[in-house]
């Protein structure tokens, strides 16, 4: 791969954005007719669909908890979603790990004690992959859970951040991700500002860590504003229709 200049001398990134700028985000809820709650989220070219079924009867009696609901997350990556067609098997460790992360992120946030002995299923379908899949999945899952009317203590907003050449930047796309830049995915609860998920896989010096993490926090707050607007618009829409 030829050396691509990720940050131009004027400080613009490879797709023309400034370092602290998010990609164009489109989101809609209630897109699926069969699921209890659903959301479709686009982060630039990364397209993710989330469907929530539940609370419903648990599939395996042995796993049922007497005082809480269990959350089950499944990932499905469409074969045409990445640059080269790759058939990811269901047991691929990477997918299992991401599913486990999403599950652990929502377990403390969803008020599971309200739905004892039941199961909440979150299905995530990745339709197109252009960097930042985990963050898009968490955001889509949050909106789908709200759309399904499942009680949560707060939104969960996620954003990626990294160190691109000379500066910290947020919302990295696929080219920036694959070219050896350090990338961290952070999920935050906006009301308290606390971090609930943090994943990093590449090398980053400790001194730069603070800047990158606080920039990610800013990105999460921006995400929260976008997601909140979508949810409120839809709620107003529904209220207007019901008032008739």
């Amino acid at each position: 791969m030829s050396r691509v200049e990720l940050l131009s001398p004027e400080g613009l990134r490879i797709d023309g954005r400034r370092p602290a700028e998010l990609r164009k985000i489109t989101s809609t809820t209630a897109v699926l007719s069969q699921a209890d709650g659903s959301a479709y989220l686009e982060h630039g070219n990364t397209k993710v669909l989330a469907a929530v079924y539940g609370p419903r009867e648990a599939r395996h009696r042995a796993l049922v908890l007497h005082d809480r609901a269990i959350i089950n997350v499944e990932f499905n990556v469409a074969p045409f979603s990445t640059g080269e067609r790759r058939r990811r098997t269901k047991n691929d460790k990477r997918l299992l790990e991401m599913a486990s992360f999403v599950k652990q992120t929502f377990e403390p946030v969803v008020v599971t004690t309200l739905y004892a002995r039941s199961q909440i299923d979150i299905y995530l379908q990745i339709i197109q992959h252009d960097g930042g899949t985990l963050q898009a999945c968490i955001n889509a899952a949050t909106m789908a859970l709200i759309d399904a009317g499942i009680a949560m203590t707060d939104y969960v907003c996620a954003c990626t951040a990294g160190w691109v050449e000379r500066e910290a930047a947020i919302d990295l796309n696929h080219i920036e991700e694959s070219s050896d830049t350090s990338e961290v995915t952070v999920a935050m609860l906006p009301k308290s500002g606390k971090i609930t998920l943090m994943q990093m896989e590449s090398r980053l010096h400790v001194d730069k860590l603070e800047e990158v993490l606080s920039l990610a926090g800013e990105g999460c707050k921006q995400m929260h504003v976008v997601m909140d607007k979508t949810i409120r618009d839809r709620a107003e829409d529904l209220a207007a229709k019901m008032a008739v």
């Binding site: 460790k93 990477r94 403390p108 609860l189 994943q199 980053l204 010096h205």
Partner: protein, 281 residues
Amino acid sequence: MREAEPSTNEREFVLAALKEGARIDGRKFYDFRTLRLSFGSDYGAVEVQLGNTRVLAKVSCEVIRPFPDKPTEGFLTFNTELSPMASSAFEVGRQTDEEVLVSRLIEKAMRRSRALDTEGLCIVAGEKVWSIRVDIHFLDHDGNLVDAACIAAITALLHFRRPDVTVVGEDVTIHTLEQRNPVPLSIHHIPICISFAFFDNGERVLVDPTYLEEQIKEGDMTLTLNVHKEVCAMSKAGGIPMELDQILQCTKIAVVKVTELTALIQEALEADAKKRQVSRK
């Protein structure tokens, strides 16, 4: 099989002790358990004992064809299997959530951070490269499997010697151990994982939790750093949400711990090297 949860009495006791600043085994909050490294007679076999947690790592190598689109890169694979020997919660064949997370963390810490120079494993570009395989066996689970496994893996890689190779034009000779002294692998840096457990709404932070502390914890985080103060991997999934300052505080603690542990590992390797030299004479 589901593991037995600690009784309410145990839980209360541990939490009350933590409130007073004491841990059950008498350690301070930021102390690691005693780390003992023992090397096997072969190069690349290491057993790590972290308190009661025991992990065995074994490195082996073989020559294979590289991928066509990466002709000068060797292979580094990690194989972790949590056997029922370590804990009754693990089952043969079925991958539990914990197993996936442990093996992914080790891969991220070692492979993604380029601890081992894979380009240095090339013998003949496009035809022959070394494939290094690290098998990690968990013998006894008393908490903090990730840290122990990581130390075992990196120490084994540092300890391992591969057979020497001479390439003359098209001719490749792999020398046996009698003919030529085996060669160490080129390791760029030493990543060490430090795991934290959070209690009491995030107020108490413990390093190197035991099994009991792991079952009671409210949240956890694993940081992987090296001596050069570079963070190689970070993983905090769910559990209690933490403030940014608390996380940065943990990184500072981790930096100190990593220096200590790296020094311990270097000491052990040197002691073993001396022993081998003496026995060879």
